[in-house]
């Protein structure tokens, strides 16, 4: 028990440092308010205790009324001004932060009772560990196989729930190499408190060595390409297909038109939904011919398929699919 009374986790990302700034600003204001109220209450309780010889005359009713209105207006307006600042500050940090940069390294996280499964684009897999390079934006695309979990790294000052049946995204850009605890922050059943892990933020060189040391498993996109053929997707969505189905080349990340006139971002979530429930959002110019794959594909299949379609982002429809993966 040689631990100091208070030891906040290090702030390992620029965002975490900004959150710290807001935290201390709010803490400063709240401490002053607490002290102010405590001092005022103590002083009044002492000075105006029963029996003390002090002046207790109050202003007459009319004068008192306008004075107390002014006083009340002050202590409505001043806190409100501070609240607006807190709101705007916190909202701006979070808002700017919500959008991951395009060059982010995408890693898939699957949570289940009570472990973390991490899959890198190159096919490398980890359990309860996540290795990432320093100074590189990292985007986690996360889903759960059972209940709701939450990916929480105190050193990054952020967390995001992980839900069954959809993807949620969390991103960060660690600038400080180190090993940071990862915890599940949404109660997920008996083993909740044991659902912990570690995030290794490594120097570029160490990260390259770590990458090279891994098993030479095929990349996720490569596995996804296999899945794409096995499940029959290529029969319709492949370049040589005669069936009228949208090509998946070069569209990842774009806004695509839907048959109801709206637009949707062609991202991991849309790919996932379109595989499971294709009738929900049909691409403009196409009819509802695709069978739903809900119940026929696993989370792992979805992950690999998504990785494959993502890898088509910079290809053109004429190139034979899968070649770019070699």
């Amino acid at each position: 028990m040689s631990y100091p009374l208070v030891s906040l986790p290090v702030a390992a990302t620029p965002y975490a440092e900004k959150v710290e700034g807001l935290f201390w600003a709010v803490t400063g204001v709240c401490t002053l308010v607490t002290l102010g109220i405590a001092v005022a209450m103590t002083y009044f309780c002492f000075r105006y205790r029963s029996g003390a010889e002090v002046d207790r005359t109050l202003p007459d009713l009319a004068a008192g009324k306008s004075r107390s209105r002014r006083i009340e207006a002050t202590w409505i307006a001043v806190p409100f001004a501070f609240f607006l600042i807190f709101f705007a500050w916190g909202a701006k940090l979070y808002y700017v932060y919500d959008d991951p940069p395009d060059n982010a390294l995408q890693i898939f996280v699957t949570a289940k009772q009570w472990m973390w499964k991490v899959e890198h684009a190159d096919g490398r897999r980890e359990i309860n560990e996540l290795h990432v390079p320093v100074d590189q934006p990292v985007k986690l695309v996360m889903t759960s196989q059972d209940v709701i979990h939450d990916f929480y790294v105190p050193a990054f000052r952020e967390k995001r729930d992980i839900l069954p049946g959809r993807y949620t995204v969390l991103w960060f850009e660690p600038t400080l190499a180190g090993v940071y605890p990862l915890r599940c922050d949404e109660f997920c059943g008996t083993g909740h408190s044991m659902m912990t892990g570690r995030v290794y933020v490594m120097s570029r060189e160490a990260y390259s060595r770590w990458l090279a040391s891994g098993s030479q498993a095929p990349s996720l996109a490569r596995l996804g390409f296999d899945r794409f053929r096995e499940l029959g997707c290529s029969g319709c969505h492949g370049p040589s297909s005669r069936i009228h189905a949208p090509s998946l080349a070069g569209v990842y990340g774009q806004m695509v038109p839907l048959s109801d006139g709206s637009f949707v971002r062609f991202d991991d979530g849309y790919i996932r939904d379109s595989i499971l429930q294709p009738a929900r959002q049909i691409a403009a110019g196409y009819s509802n011919d695709m069978p739903p794959f809900a119940g026929r594909v696993s989370e792992q299949d979805l992950l690999e398929l998504t990785a494959y379609i993502r890898s088509l982002a910079n290809t053109s429809p004429d190139v034979p699919q899968g070649n770019h993966l070699q």
Partner: protein, 545 residues
């Protein structure tokens, strides 16, 4: 320092409500709001100690970062039982169903509530709901947390979720009926001349609470029905695998459960206003503003539930709106703290037990409220959500706030309820012990949260042990503090000195009648004051010389 005017025993010629039958039957069939208040008080006290026992066992376990006296499953069942019992079977009925039942008719100058038999029915429904919860515990308990998040509660937990949910569903009807009764009573039974702005703030607070009870509780009932239907019949409203949405459950749950926080804290604010003005001998500062603040809290309280979902997968724009509205609802709460403080200015202050509890309430509510400002901020909440910071925050509001105020109210109106006074030094000692024990229990939890310890953790990293031990030590002091009032209040029922009508020199209508009151509350003509809280500190000083 004491001003309790303990009068020699005055045998009142007529009987009082306590002497109106001594048999168990006379109690179980009563429609007297005062007796029903006591039925509730006894029931919720039992639940309070059940919930408290669960908390004590949890704090005992958390002394060690590794398993100490139980397994993870037992621990999870304990915090679920603690939450369910304390929220629905203690805090929500606490002040409204006991002090509210006892006082609302008297404060408006009526003989009883508008619907006395419905009032008794409401207690029976509450007991029935409570029995389901006890059966749930005997049958093995629930391990989902009091929030019952799906799909853990529907697909994955193999504990007694349905029994528990049925119990809460039933108890909800008790809430609705009690709320309805108070609304009708305040509208219809006010004494002639007692206009809205002559009502004590306690009545305002209970009235606002009743509106929330009536409007929010049905949503909880619907949510729980859908949850049970999903669990039993596989209905897919909240089930992602069937095309439903687990986040929808959270929206519906918090649409009730956030206003429920105001159900717990508005009555506490009402008590604080009564007690502080009485012992400062000053009218409440800014009476009208205080009344409007109560209404504003009740109204805006319905629009902030989404701040529980900032990291849950709710849309960013929804989160922005909920964050803003959460700051808006903080304004009327801030006004109340400032106005209580200003009420002390130029008062003639004494420090009997009710006042000590009420001052403790203001301090702890202040800290609870200010830490809410952290959680209303998107960027800060994305770090602190679901950590011990949140646990500490809401315990400052609900235990530091509501329970302290409940104790302030019990001590303030005890002589009116029982006709007897409790031992003064013991009661003051208890107030101080509870205040110290509370802070030692929960302040370290703020730091634990900032250091990154998630809530509902059975095992934890060794670095968190020191603060957990502090917290557990505080809990043992708190437990002793809560035991004290049970002892001396029970003692006082038989042995406390008799008191007259108005031992504190308070201004509410309830103090114009005898202690304990006659069955029909008033046997003297009521004097409706010109304005509420008509205290005069200077006159008080002159009287004491």
């Amino acid at each position: 320092m004491s001003t309790a005017i303990v009068e020699p025993a005055l045998p009142e010629p007529e009987g009082n409500y306590l002497e109106n039958g001594y048999s168990l039957r006379s109690w179980l069939t009563t429609t007297d709001h005062k007796r029903i208040a006591i039925l509730y008080a006894v029931t919720i006290t039992a639940f309070f100690f059940m919930g408290g026992t669960a908390a004590t066992l949890m704090r005992l376990e958390l002394i060690s970062p590794t398993p100490l006296i139980m397994g993870a499953e037992t621990y999870n069942k304990l915090f679920t039982a603690h939450g369910v019992i304390m929220v629905w079977f203690f805090l929500i009925p606490s002040i409204p169903a006991t002090l509210g039942n006892f006082l609302i008719p008297m404060m408006v100058g009526a003989k009883d509530v508008a619907l006395p038999r419905v009032n008794l029915l409401s207690w029976y429904i509450f007991v029935l709901g409570g029995m389901f919860v006890i059966v749930t515990l005997i049958a093995g308990g629930i391990d989902t947390g009091w929030t019952f998040y799906v799909p853990l509660s529907t697909r994955y937990s193999d504990t007694q979720v349905v029994y528990g949910v049925v119990g809460i569903f039933i108890a909800g009807f008790s809430s609705i009926l009690t709320g309805l009764n108070f609304i009708v009573t305040v509208h219809r039974l006010r004494a002639p001349g007692l206009t809205w702005f002559k009502l004590p703030l306690f009545v305002w607070a209970i009235y606002a609470t009743s509106i929330i009870l009536v409007l929010a509780t049905p949503v909880l009932a619907m949510t729980l029905v859908l949850l049970a239907m999903q669990r039993v019949f596989g209905l897919g409203i909240f089930d992602a695998l069937l095309g439903g949405d687990p986040i929808l459950f959270q929206h519906m749950f918090w649409f009730y459960s956030h206003p429920a926080v105001y159900i717990m804290v508005l009555p506490a604010m009402g008590v604080a206003s009564e007690v502080i003005s009485c012992f400062a001998r000053k009218p409440v500062f800014g009476y009208r503003t205080m009344a409007y603040a109560i209404a504003a809290i009740a109204a805006f309280g319905f629009m902030v539930w989404g701040h529980h979902l900032f990291v849950a997968g709710q849309s960013l724009y929804a989160s922005l709106v909920f964050s803003f509205l959460s700051y808006v609802v903080a304004i009327p709460s801030a006004i109340k703290v400032f106005n209580w403080t200003a009420t002390l200015y130029k008062g003639s202050i004494t420090f009997e037990a009710p006042m000590l509890y009420a001052l403790g309430f203001v301090g702890l509510f202040l800290i609870g409220g200010l830490t809410g400002l952290y959680l209303a901020s998107l960027a800060l909440d994305a770090n602190l959500s679901d950590t011990y910071f949140v646990v500490a925050h809401f315990h400052y509001i609900m235990v530091g706030g509501s329970v302290m105020a409940y104790f302030a109210g019990i001590h303030f109106w005890w002589p009116k309820i029982t006709g007897r006074m409790y031992p003064e030094s013991w009661s003051r000692l208890a107030a101080i012990v509870i205040f110290i024990g509370f802070n030692l229990t929960f302040f370290p939890q703020f730091i634990l949260g900032l250091e990154g310890m998630p809530r509902r953790y059975f095992e934890y990293a060794p670095q968190f042990q020191f603060l957990n031990i502090l917290s557990s030590a505080g809990a043992s002091i708190l437990a002793a503090g809560y035991a004290l009032p049970v002892l001396y209040l029970t003692w006082s029922i038989r042995h406390g000195p008799h008191v007259g009508r108005n031992p504190w020199g308070a201004k509410g209508l309830e103090w114009q009648t005898r202690s304990p009151p006659p069955v029909e509350n008033f046997d003297v003509p009521l004097r409706i004051p010109e304005r509420p809280y008509d205290y005069d500190p200077e006159a008080e000083e002159a009287k004491r010389k």
